[in-house]
Subunit: 496 residues, 4 copies
Amino acid sequence: METLGHLINGQMLATGERRQAIFNPATGEASKELVLASRETVEQAIAVADAAFPAWRDTPPLKRARIMFRFKELLELNADKIAALIGEEHGKISHDALGELQRGIENVEYACGAPELLKGEHSKNVGPNIDSWSEFQPLGVVAGITPFNFPVMVPLWMMPMALVCGNCFVLKPSERDPSSTLYIAQLLQEAGLPDGVLNVVNGDKEAVDTLLTDSRIKAVSFVGSTPIAEYIYSTATVNGKRCQALGGAKNHAIVMPDADMDNAVNQLLGAAFGSSGERCMALSVAVAVGDAAADSLVEKMTAAMAGLKVGVCTERSNDFGPVITRQHQEKVVGYINSAEAQGARIVVDGRNVQVPGYENGYFVGATLIDQVTPDMQSYQEEIFGPVLQVMRVDSMQQAMELIDAHEYGNGTCIFTRDGEAARYFSDNIQVGMVGINVPLPVPVAYHSFGGWKRSLFGDLHAYGPDAVRFYTKRKTITQRWPSAGVREGAQFAFPS
Amino acid sequence: METLGHLINGQMLATGERRQAIFNPATGEASKELVLASRETVEQAIAVADAAFPAWRDTPPLKRARIMFRFKELLELNADKIAALIGEEHGKISHDALGELQRGIENVEYACGAPELLKGEHSKNVGPNIDSWSEFQPLGVVAGITPFNFPVMVPLWMMPMALVCGNCFVLKPSERDPSSTLYIAQLLQEAGLPDGVLNVVNGDKEAVDTLLTDSRIKAVSFVGSTPIAEYIYSTATVNGKRCQALGGAKNHAIVMPDADMDNAVNQLLGAAFGSSGERCMALSVAVAVGDAAADSLVEKMTAAMAGLKVGVCTERSNDFGPVITRQHQEKVVGYINSAEAQGARIVVDGRNVQVPGYENGYFVGATLIDQVTPDMQSYQEEIFGPVLQVMRVDSMQQAMELIDAHEYGNGTCIFTRDGEAARYFSDNIQVGMVGINVPLPVPVAYHSFGGWKRSLFGDLHAYGPDAVRFYTKRKTITQRWPSAGVREGAQFAFPS
Amino acid sequence: METLGHLINGQMLATGERRQAIFNPATGEASKELVLASRETVEQAIAVADAAFPAWRDTPPLKRARIMFRFKELLELNADKIAALIGEEHGKISHDALGELQRGIENVEYACGAPELLKGEHSKNVGPNIDSWSEFQPLGVVAGITPFNFPVMVPLWMMPMALVCGNCFVLKPSERDPSSTLYIAQLLQEAGLPDGVLNVVNGDKEAVDTLLTDSRIKAVSFVGSTPIAEYIYSTATVNGKRCQALGGAKNHAIVMPDADMDNAVNQLLGAAFGSSGERCMALSVAVAVGDAAADSLVEKMTAAMAGLKVGVCTERSNDFGPVITRQHQEKVVGYINSAEAQGARIVVDGRNVQVPGYENGYFVGATLIDQVTPDMQSYQEEIFGPVLQVMRVDSMQQAMELIDAHEYGNGTCIFTRDGEAARYFSDNIQVGMVGINVPLPVPVAYHSFGGWKRSLFGDLHAYGPDAVRFYTKRKTITQRWPSAGVREGAQFAFPS
Amino acid sequence: METLGHLINGQMLATGERRQAIFNPATGEASKELVLASRETVEQAIAVADAAFPAWRDTPPLKRARIMFRFKELLELNADKIAALIGEEHGKISHDALGELQRGIENVEYACGAPELLKGEHSKNVGPNIDSWSEFQPLGVVAGITPFNFPVMVPLWMMPMALVCGNCFVLKPSERDPSSTLYIAQLLQEAGLPDGVLNVVNGDKEAVDTLLTDSRIKAVSFVGSTPIAEYIYSTATVNGKRCQALGGAKNHAIVMPDADMDNAVNQLLGAAFGSSGERCMALSVAVAVGDAAADSLVEKMTAAMAGLKVGVCTERSNDFGPVITRQHQEKVVGYINSAEAQGARIVVDGRNVQVPGYENGYFVGATLIDQVTPDMQSYQEEIFGPVLQVMRVDSMQQAMELIDAHEYGNGTCIFTRDGEAARYFSDNIQVGMVGINVPLPVPVAYHSFGGWKRSLFGDLHAYGPDAVRFYTKRKTITQRWPSAGVREGAQFAFPS
C-alpha cells in the first residue's frame, strides 16, 4: 500500500511518524497510508519556508505570477489525473471533480494578475513637496488548513494568492483525501516554484496546533466546520496571527410564487445533491412562499429526483457519489430519521440506497423532506449530505426572518422574476453571498468568498481582492527631500 | 465641581454611578468629576445604538456624508474651545491642541467622500447573462476605546468613517481627559446626526469589558498601550468581533552621514518633544551612523534644546506641557534614572524642571541621552515622555538590524539625501510607517495608519481606505434572470 | 440698466467691447446688458490663467479641496439669491432652480475628495529593485463653454473638478443667462481661490474661437447642441487639445405592459415637462409596448397634465416657466404644428397657453402628442420644449430598435417590474445613461455623465471619475537606484 | 517569391490588388511581395469584424481572457520563429527581437486579467432604494495602424486589450515588415479567437484612409511619426472616432555630476544604439551638467562604443543591425553631416561602417556627437538612428529648460543619486515617461505608455489601465424598483 508523506523543501518525506489509513468511500476499503506529521516535522516545514522567504519576497511580482501561468497549464494538462485522485479518496464523480478543479484554476488565473493587484496608492504633494504612498508587502510564512470536501479547490483558494503576494506557504490538507492536494503541490513545484516556498504537511491536531502557535506563522486560512473554525480563529488570534476561518452553513432558497418553477427545480437539483451535498454552499433548504408554490415545487422536484443516479466516481453518468466516511453516512441518515421523528414528511427517501457492486460504500440517496419546521434538529444543524428540506411560509418577509434567525449566513438565493423582490432580498438578508435565481452564488475568482454570522470568523474574505489584503500588510511611506540647491548649479556639493 | 456624564440617545446622563476626579496636569488639582458607567449603562447605550441602526443603515451615504460636511464646519468654528478643553485636562499647548484637531478634521474631510469610498465592484457577464457585484454593508453597532494622548484626534480616526459607512457607534474615551471628546460628540449631534447613532460612555474596565463581550457590538477599534491592546484584541476576537487594536511604539530615526544635519535636528526637536513625547509616533531614538554624525547630532541638538520651553497650555510660546499624571511623571523620570544607572550619558537633563507658579504640575523637561545601548531598560520600553535617546552604530545595516530587533514596529525615519539609502530602508525595514526625512510619518487621512509587529493587532489599519473595509462587511450578489420571452411580444405573461 | 462684464484675475471688467441685451423670458423685456469679449480680452484671460498656473499646480490637493469645502458653504448660504438670478434670466421656477443648484453642489462635494481621487498607482519591483508609479498632473489652462439651460449646474460639472486637479480655468457661459454663473464664480473667489485661477469671459463666437485655437488652452469641455458640439470637438482636436463635447438628445422611455402605470405617469410628468423640457435629459418620447399600455398611459397622462401650471419663476406653485427666447418658443410650436400636419394626434395642446400678466412671455404649455411615428420631423429632431410624444410598438424588441435607430444616445428609461426586461434593456440599448424605472437617469456626481452616439464627442464623460482623467495627464515614473555600498559602512563616499 | 496577403475572417486572402516588395535591410534585396488592400478589401474586413461583434461582445470576459492565456503559450512556443521573421524584414538582432516579443507578451499577460480590469463601480442607495452602477462596454470594431520598428510589440500593445474588452479588430501593420505581425495574428486565431474578430489588412494610404473614414470603425490606435499621427488624429476625430495617435520623440538624459558614470554609460549604450536607435523611446541626447561630467561621459562612452558590433540579425553577438531602408540610411547620415556642418564634434563616426558580406545592407555605425546645440537640425528633429548627441549645460535647471523647450515629450531620464534631484526632475519635467537612472522608462504592461506635447495626440495612453478606458465606453445605469407590496404576502399580484 502506497504511503503518502509530506512535501518539504521540494522533497517528499515520509519517515518515522504516526500513520493512518485513507479509505475509498465507494468501497469502504483502505487504499493508502498517510503519515501524520509530528510537531518537529511541522516546525521543519516552517523553518524551510522561513528560509525561503527573503528571496521569494524580493522576486518581482510578475515573475511570481509567471509561475502561476505555468501552473495553470499543468493543471489543465493533468486534469484527468487530478480528477481521478479526487474520486478515489473523496468519491466525487469525475465531472464534478473536473468542475472543482476548474473553479480552482480560476483562482490561479486571478493570481496571474498579481502585478495589477499589488499596486499601492501614490499621493503627490500630501504637503508641499511631500509625497506619500502605500505598499502591500508579504507577511512571511502563512498557513492553510483545508477540508476534505474540496481537496483541490480550497487549497487553490489560498496558495496562489498567498504565493504571488510574496509569502511562503505551509499547507495542511485534509487527512481523508490528501492525494490530489499533494499532487497539485508537486505541479506547482514543477511550474517553477523555488524549493521551500510551498510545503505540505499531512497530519492531525498536533500539526494544526503547531501551525497555530508557532510565531513564524503570520497568518492562517481555514475552511471547515464552525466549531473548529472558531477554535482556529481564537487560537490563531491569541497567538498574534491574522486569521480567516470559514465554517458551516445552512443555505436557504426562497421560492417566490412568480418563480419559473421548472428552472428553479432544475437549479436546485444540482445545488442540493451535487457532490452529495458535501459543500458549504450546498442549497439544503427551500423556503416556498405560499402553499401553491410549495406544492408545485415538491411535485416537480420529486419527479426530477427520479432521474438522479448515485454511484461510483468513475461512471460519468452518475450524478453524485458516496459521502466521505461511514460515520458521516450514519450521521446523515440520523438527521433524516430525526426529521421524520419530529414530524416532517419524507417525500423522497435516500436512506436505503443500494449501489450494486459497492455494497460497502458510504452511499446516501437523494432525499426530499417536506413540512420541515424551525425547531427540528435537521433544520438547526448542517447535514452535509444529499438532503433537501422544504419549508412553507406565507410571505417573503417571513422567509427572510427565518433565514436571518439561523446561526449561519453563508449563502442564500431567491427565485423570482420581480426586480423589487430581488433588490429587497439582496439588500436586507443577513447572508454574505446572495443569489438571484442563482442557487449556488459562489463568487467568481475575481470577487471574494465569505459568509456572515457564524459562517466566517475574520474581517477579510477568501480569495479575490480580499486575499490580497489578507496576505499582505500595508506599509505607508512619506517622503520629503530637503532642498540643497541641487538644481541651481553644476558644482553643487552634498551636505557633509 | 462640574460632573461629566454620558451621551446616550442624544442626551447627557450623569446619574447614580461610580465617580472619579479629572485632574489638571499643570496644577495637579482636580477640576471635574467623571461618572463611570456601569455594565447596565453601557448596555443601555448599546441598545440605543442598536435601535437606531436600521434607519441609519438605510440613509443614503451622501446624506450621511453631509452631516460630516457640517461637522467639519462646527469643529472649525469651535476650534479654540476644543483646544482649551484639551489643554485643561491633557496639558497640551494650544498650538499643539489645534494641530491635533486639524489632523482630526482631515479624517472628517475624508469621510465626506463616503459615496466614492463605498463603491462596490460590478462585473458584467461572469457567465452568460450572469452579473455579480459586491456591496460593502455596515456591521451594526461598533465601539471605539480611545487613549488620553489624543482625546480629539483618535476619536476622529474612528467615528467619522464608522458612521458614514452606516454603523452606529459607542465610544469610550479616556477617563483622564474626556471633556473635549464629549464636546465634539455633541457637535456631531448638532451637525445633524440622529439621536442614538453615536453614544459616548465614560468608564473604566467595567465599561470596556461590557463592550468587548456584548454580542451586539460587532467591531472594536482601540488605541492604547500594547498590553491592553493585546487584551482587547484577544477578548474581542474570542467574542466573535472584528478588532483592530493599536499599541505602543519605539520609533527610531536613522541619521545618515550625508543627512542635512540642521534640518534633521530641527525635525527631531518637534518629533521627540512635541506633546511631551506622549505620542505613539513620537521619535524617541536617534540612531546615528558613524561617530561623526553622532557627535554633530548631539552637539546641534543640545544647542537647539536650549531654546525649548515647557509650561502651561495657555501660553502659546511654550513648546510643550506637563505629562498626564503624577505617576507618569515619576515613571518617565525613572527611565532617565535607569539609563543613567546603566551607563548612558545624560546630555540634557529635564528631570528637575521647574515651572514657576505651577510647582505641582507634572512637568518633565526635554531630555537628551547619548550612548544608549540595546540592553538598557529605557531603550527596551516605551517611555512616552520628552526624552530623546541617541545610539551609535557603524552602518545603516546595523541601524536597521537594531530597529528590526525591537518588539515594536510603529514608525521610523531615515535622514539622508541618497536615493538608494531611502529606497533600501523603506523597502526592508519591518515597520509599518516609514519616513524619508519625515520624522513623524503619520499617514495623511486618505492613507491608513498602522504599525507592524506588536504595535498593531489586526488585519486592517486605522482610518483612510482600510477604515472602509474594517467598518463594513462584504456582500457578493450573483444575478441571473431566466428567459421568459419578455422582449418578443407585448402580451407576454409572467410564469405563474 | 446693469452691465455684466468678465471676471479676469479676480476683477470684474466691462470696458470697451461689443454688447448685447439679456432678456427676461417671462416678460420679454431686456433686463441687463452683456459685454461680449473680443479676442484680446479672451487672450488676456488666458494669459492671466497661464500665469497663475505654476503656483496653483504646486498647491497640495488637500488645500485646493478645502476651497471647495468653503465654496459649498457659500453656495448653500446664497442659494436663494442664485435661484433668483437663474429665474430672472432663464425663467426656471425657484424650486427647479434650487434643484439645479443642488445637483451642482453635489459636484462640489465630489471635488472635495480630490486627494483620494488624484491617487496614482504605485508598483514595487517592476524589475529587481525597480519601482514605477503614475501621477496625474494637471494640464494647465482649460476652458469650459456652457449652455443656457443650466447656467449654474453645468459650470459646476466642470470648474470644481478642473480646479481641484490643479488646472486654471477660463469659462464662457451662455450669453442668455450669465448672471448666476458670474455670481457663483465670485463666490468661488470668495471661498479662497487665488486670483487668476478662474476667469469668466462673456461672449459669442469670437470668444469661443479664441478658446478653441489658442495654444495655451489644453482642453475644452462643452455642453450644447450637437452641431455646435461637433464643431467644437473637431476644431479643438485639430488644434491639439483634448475635448469633450456634449450635444443633443432624444430620450425615450419604454413603458412595458407590467409597469406600475401610476408611478410611470408621475415620473414622466416631471421628466417631460420640468424646466419646460429644456434639459438634455428631458424624457420626450414614451414608447408604449402594446396598445393597452399606450391607451392607459395616454389616459392617465392626460388627466395628470390637467394639474400642471406654467408661469413665472417667482411663484413656487408653478410647475415650469417660459422657454428661453421668442425664437425658441416659435420653434417649439412649429414642431407641434408639424407633428399635427404629419398625422399625429395632439392630445393635450399647449400652443396657445396664456399666462395672465405675462402676455409677452415666451410660454408654451405642456403638450402631449399620440400616434407619433419615426418619420415625423418632431421625432427626428430635438424639440427642447414641454412636449411629450407617445409612440406605440408591439414588443420591447421593437421599442429598442426604435431607440437604437435614433442618432442620439443620451438617456433612456424602461418602466417595468421584470428583472429580465430590465437587464436585457440596460445591457443592449445603445444609450449611455439608462434608467430602470428612473426617467431622468442623470448619474450622481460620483459617477460620470455622458451619452453615446451623436450625443457626446470624446472619450471621457463629464464630471465624476472621468473628470479626473479628462483634467489630468498621466505621467509614469520608473526608478532604480544603482548600488553604491551605501548600507555597509558609515564612511561611504558618494561617487564624484 | 512568397506573396503576403490579408487575414480576413480567419482566411489568408491575396488576390487581385496592387503589390509592392518587402526588402531584407541587411542585404538590400527584395524577399517577399506584399498585397496592398484596396478600399473594398478593407471594407470587407470591417464588415466581417462588424458581423462578428455581437457574439464576441456577449462572450464573458473570462472566456475572452482564456484565449489570451493560450495565445501567450503559443507566442512563447514560437518565439524563435517570430524573432527570425522580425530579423529578416526589420534587421533587428535576434536577442533584440526576442526582447521585443517579451515586452509584447507582457501585454498579453496583462490582458489575461480582463475580468478584473473590466469591473464597473456599484453604488448602493444613491437615493432611497435607488442604486447606480457603471459598465464598460466594448465600442464595436476598432482599428490599429502600427509602425515598422516594433512589428510584434506595438500590435500587441493594442490587440490583446481591445479584444478582451469585447471589440473586434482590424489591424494594418507596417508594409515594411508585416510577416511577423501576420504570423502572430494567425497564432491568435489558433489560440481560439473566433473567425472575423481579428482581421489584418496590409496596405498603404488607401487602406489607412478607409479605416479613418468608415463609420463602422469606432476607434483608431496609431503609432508612428508625429506628422502622420497628427493627420490620423484630426482625420479620425473629425470622422467621429476616438483616437490615440503616438508620434515622434527626442528623448534626453540628464547626467548629473553625482551620477554613477560607469552605470550611466552602460545604460546609455543600449538605450541609444539598441535596435539602431529606431525606437520612439531611444535615448538620443545626453545632457551633461557641467563640463567635468560631460568630459567623463564622452571619454567613457567613446571607450564603451569601441566594443559595439553592427551586423546581421542572425549573429547573436551583434549589438544592432541595419536601419530599415536605403532612404532612411541616407537620412541618418545626412543628420550626422548636418551636425558636423553646424559645428558639432563627431567623436565616434558611424557613417562609413562596413559589414563584410553585406555591402548592400542599410548599415549605420554607432555615432557619438559632442558639443551639440539647440539650433542644430540634428537636435531639432528625430533622427531614428544609432546616434547619441551630447549637450553641455551649467545646471540641472538649464537641462530641464532645454528638454521642456523641445516639441516632443515622450521619454526622459536623469542619472543621479540625489533624492531631491530625482523628485524635482520627475515632478516638473514636461515629459510623459520619466526614468530615474532608467534610460528607457517604458512603462511596464500594467501601467500605460504615452508621451506629452507633440508625442501623443489624444486623452488616453496606450496599453495598461488606459487601454481599458480607450477600448470601452462607459454606461451608467440607475435603478429603482417601485414598491408593490411584494414582500408582505404570498398571493401578491403583479400590476397589469
